[in-house]
C-alpha cells in the first residue's frame, strides 16, 4: 500500500510539473482549470503570460528546493528550519537541508488551498496576534501532515519579537535544538564583529549537533554561485531606474524565492539571467513591462501575498510596484580567497538581510529602515510609498508614522497605509485593499 503524499511532496510534485510546462500560456490555463480553484488561481497569478520564462524559472526554484530537501531527508541528512532572513548558503556547504519556514508553510497552503493551518497553530495555544508567517508550518506539524526539523535557527533575534519568540516556542514544544543569532541594535563594525562571532558559533554548533563538517570546496562553489546571482540582482536593480518600469510587478515576489529560499544554488542563476535580459531588452526599446504606468510605488515593508492576483491587478490600475523592503538585497560580493573571508562574508550578508538590517535598531539609524527606503525611493524615482500593514509587525507599525512624515518632508510624496494580514485573507478582504489602492492611485495620479 502506498501512503498518501505529504503536503510538501504534493506541492513539490505540482510545482516541478508546472516548471517544465511549454512556454505557452494556454497550457498553463489548461492546467490551472484542471486543478482545485485555489490552486489554479495561484498558478495563474504566479505565471505572467507576458513573462512566462521568468515566472517558470522562479516556480522551478521553489519546486526544486522542496524536492531537494525531501530527498536529503530520505537520505538521513538533517533538516534545519530557518526564517527567511537566514540565507541558506552555509548550510548547503554542510550538507544540511535548509527549509525556509515561512515559504514552506505559505506556498503549499496557497497551492493546496484553505487556511486550515493558520488556525491549527492558534488552536494549539499560540496568540492570535502572532505573525502568520510561520503559523502554517507549525500548523502542518500539529496536524501531523509534516515532519519536525532537526535543528532550528533564528538569525535575527532583535529585529522582530514574534519571529524570534516563535522559534523559541517550536524548539521547546518539540524538543529541538535552537540556535539564536543575536543581531545587535546597531549596524556598524562593532555590531558586525559581534554578529560574526554569533555566526561562527552557529556553524560549529550545527557541525556538532548534526555530526557534519563544513566542506570548504562545496562552500566555495556555493558562494561563487551566490555571488553570480548577486551580481545579476544588482545589475537588474540598475535597470529598475528606467521609466517606464521594465519589469512586471510580480518580479518583486519571484526575486524573493530566489534570494530567500534557495540562495547559493544553481537553479537561481537562470532566473536572474532571464529577468536581466528581459529588463535590458525593454529598456533598450524604451518600453515598460506593462502599459498605463500611472504611479511608481515603493512599498515600505512587505507586499501582499494572500491573493496573488493582486500583483497583476495593480498593473491594471496603473500602479508600478518598484520593490519593497523584503526584496532589497544590497549584497557585497563575497571574497572567496579563504575560508575565513567566505564565512565572514556570509555572516555579513546575513546581517544585511531584509528586516534584520532595517528593523533591529532605531528606525532612523545609519543604514536602517529610513535610510534604505529613502535611498530606494530616490534611486527608483518613486512618487509614492505604500505600507502593507501586516498587523503582526509591531516594529514596522511602530515607525510607519515617522516614515510617512519623513517621505512627506524629504521628498514631498504621499503614503498609503493599508491594514492587513499579508498572508491570511480573512483579516482584510482583498476587495477592501483593492478599493483603498484604487482610491489612492486616483487621488494622487
Amino acid at each position: 500500500m502506498t501512503r498518501a503524499p505529504t503536503v510538501w511532496e504534493e506541492t513539490a510534485a505540482l510545482l516541478e510539473g508546472v516548471s517544465v510546462l511549454p512556454e505557452d500560456y494556454g497550457a498553463v490555463l489548461d492546467l490551472a482549470r484542471s486543478l482545485p480553484p485555489d490552486t489554479g488561481a495561484m498558478l495563474e497569478a504566479f505565471i505572467d503570460p507576458k513573462f512566462m520564462k521568468m515566472s517558470l524559472a522562479a516556480v522551478k526554484i521553489f519546486g526544486r528546493s522542496l524536492t531537494d530537501i525531501l530527498q536529503k531527508r530520505s537520505e538521513g541528512k538533517k533538516v534545519v528550519f530557518r526564517a527567511f532572513n537566514f540565507p541558506p548558503e552555509i548550510l548547503f556547504a554542510m550538507d544540511i537541508a535548509p527549509m525556509c519556514t515561512e515559504a514552506a508553510g505559505i506556498i503549499p497552503m496557497m497551492a493546496l488551498g484553505g487556511e486550515r493551518f493558520f488556525d491549527a497553530a492558534i488552536e494549539a495555544g499560540l496568540p492570535e496576534t502572532l505573525c502568520s508567517g510561520h503559523r502554517p508550518t507549525v500548523g502542518m506539524i500539529y496536524d501531523g501532515r509534516e515532519f519536525k526539523p532537526d535543528i532550528i535557527i533564528n538569525a535575527g533575534a532583535g529585529s522582530c519579537d514574534p519571529n524570534a519568540k516563535l522559534h523559541e516556542y517550536m524548539a521547546h514544544e518539540w524538543g529541538i535544538p535552537l540556535l539564536n543569532l543575536d543581531a545587535p541594535y546597531y549596524h556598524d563594525e562593532r555590531a558586525l564583529d559581534y554578529y560574526r562571532i554569533e555566526f561562527r558559533n552557529m556553524v560549529s554548533q550545527v557541525e556538532e549537533i548534526a555530526g557534519v563538517k563544513l566542506d570548504y570546496d562545496r562552500l566555495r562553489e556555493v558562494v561563487e554561485c551566490s555571488n553570480q546571482a548577486s551580481e545579476l540582482y544588482l545589475e537588474i536593480h540598475e535597470l529598475k531606474r528606467a521609466v517606464p518600469f521594465p519589469l512586471p510587478n510580480i518580479y518583486s515576489v519571484l526575486v524573493q524565492l530566489a534570494k530567500l529560499v534557495w540562495a547559493g544554488r544553481e537553479e537561481t542563476v537562470p532566473f536572474f539571467q532571464i529577468a536581466r535580459d528581459t529588463a535590458k531588452d525593454l529598456v533598450a526599446k524604451g518600453q515598460g513591462a506593462f502599459e498605463n504606468q500611472r504611479v511608481r510605488s515603493l512599498w515600505l515593508y512587505s507586499g501582499i501575498y494572500y491573493d496573488m492576483e493582486i500583483w497583476r491587478w495593480m498593473e491594471k490600475v496603473g500602479m508600478v510596484y518598484l520593490q519593497d523592503c523584503f526584496s532589497w538585497f544590497p549584497d557585497k560580493i563575497i571574497d572567496t580567497s579563504t575560508i575565513d573571508t567566505m564565512i565572514d562574508g556570509l555572516a555579513e550578508r546575513t546581517f544585511n538581510m531584509p528586516m534584520t538590517k532595517q528593523h533591529k535598531g532605531s528606525w532612523d539609524s545609519p543604514e536602517g529602515w529610513a535610510e534604505d527606503m529613502l535611498f530606494l525611493a530616490k534611486e527608483l524615482k518613486a512618487d509614492c510609498t505604500v505600507f502593507s500593514g501586516h498587523l503582526a509587525c509591531k516594529q514596522a507599525w511602530g515607525a510607519y508614522r515617522l516614515m510617512r512624515d519623513m517621505f512627506k518632508s524629504e521628498l514631498g510624496i504621499p503614503s498609503l497605509r493599508l491594514e492587513s494580514d499579508i498572508l491570511d485573507r480573512r483579516i482584510t478582504p482583498v476587495s477592501v485593499l483593492k478599493e483603498r489602492i484604487e482610491e489612492f492611485v486616483s487621488t494622487i495620479a
Binding site: 508614522r401 512627506k408 497605509r417 491594514e419 482584510t428 484604487e438 482610491e439 486616483s442
Partner: protein, 260 residues
Amino acid sequence: MIAAGFDFGALAAKAVLMKDGELVSYGIGDVRANPERVVESVMEKVLSEAGLSADQINCAACTGWGRRRVSYTDKEVGELPCLAKGAQWLLPSVRTVIDVGGQNSRALSVNDKGKVIDYNLNDKCAAGTGRFFELVAKALEVDLGELAALAYQAKSPAEITSQCCVFAESEVVALLNEGLDLADIAAGVHDSTVKRLVAIAGGISIEEDVVMTGGCAKNERLIDGLERLLKTQVVRLSHDPQLVGAVGAALIAEERLRQS
C-alpha cells in the same frame, strides 16, 4: 447646466442637484431601511423639489461605498476627491477636512484647488464612526439626535475604554448599571470618539481652516471636543455637512462634462 451628485454611504444615501453652480435641492435616505430603492426614492424627492425631471440632468456622478450600484450614472468618483472638492466649494479657505461617516472616519489635507494632498483613514475597527454612536444610543435607549444635548449636561464624563463597538455597547450598559449618570456616559461616548478622531487626524498635518463633514458633523458636542483636543477651531459649514460628498460628486461631474 444641471448636475446631479450622489453619495451612497453604508448608512445613508445622499443626493444633490446643482443648477449653474448653485445647490437647488437635496435629499437623504436611510440605506438599511430601503436598500433596494433608496437611491431612486431620494432622487424622486430631489427632482420634484427642484421641479425638474430626470432627463433634464446634464451630468451626474456618484461616490461612496455603494457607488457602483447607482443606475443614474456610470461615472463613479472616489470618496476623497469628492469630500475635498465639496468642502472647498463650500468654504474656499478649507485646508483640512475631518469626515466622520457611518463606518469610516478620515482626515484629509486639501489644497486651494480642492485637491487631496494627503489623507489618513480609520483602522480596522468601527469605533469612532457613526455606527458606534448608533449602537450606543440604542443601548442607552436614547434618541440618536439627543445624545449630544445630553452630553452637554455631564458633570464628570465617564471613561469608555472598550476598543470594540459591540463591547462598548455593553460597557455603557454596565456603567448605567453601576449608577452612573446618563449624561456622563453620553459625554464619555463623545470623548472616546474624539480621541479616535484625534488619532486619525494626527496622521496628517492639520492646517486651518478645518471643517468637519459627514453625518456626525451635525453633532456639536463632537466638534467642541475635537476643537479642544486639537487646539484648533473647526469652521461650521453653511450647508448640511452630510451632503459634502454628494456636492463634490456633482461638481466633479460638471467639471468632467466641461472638459470633455
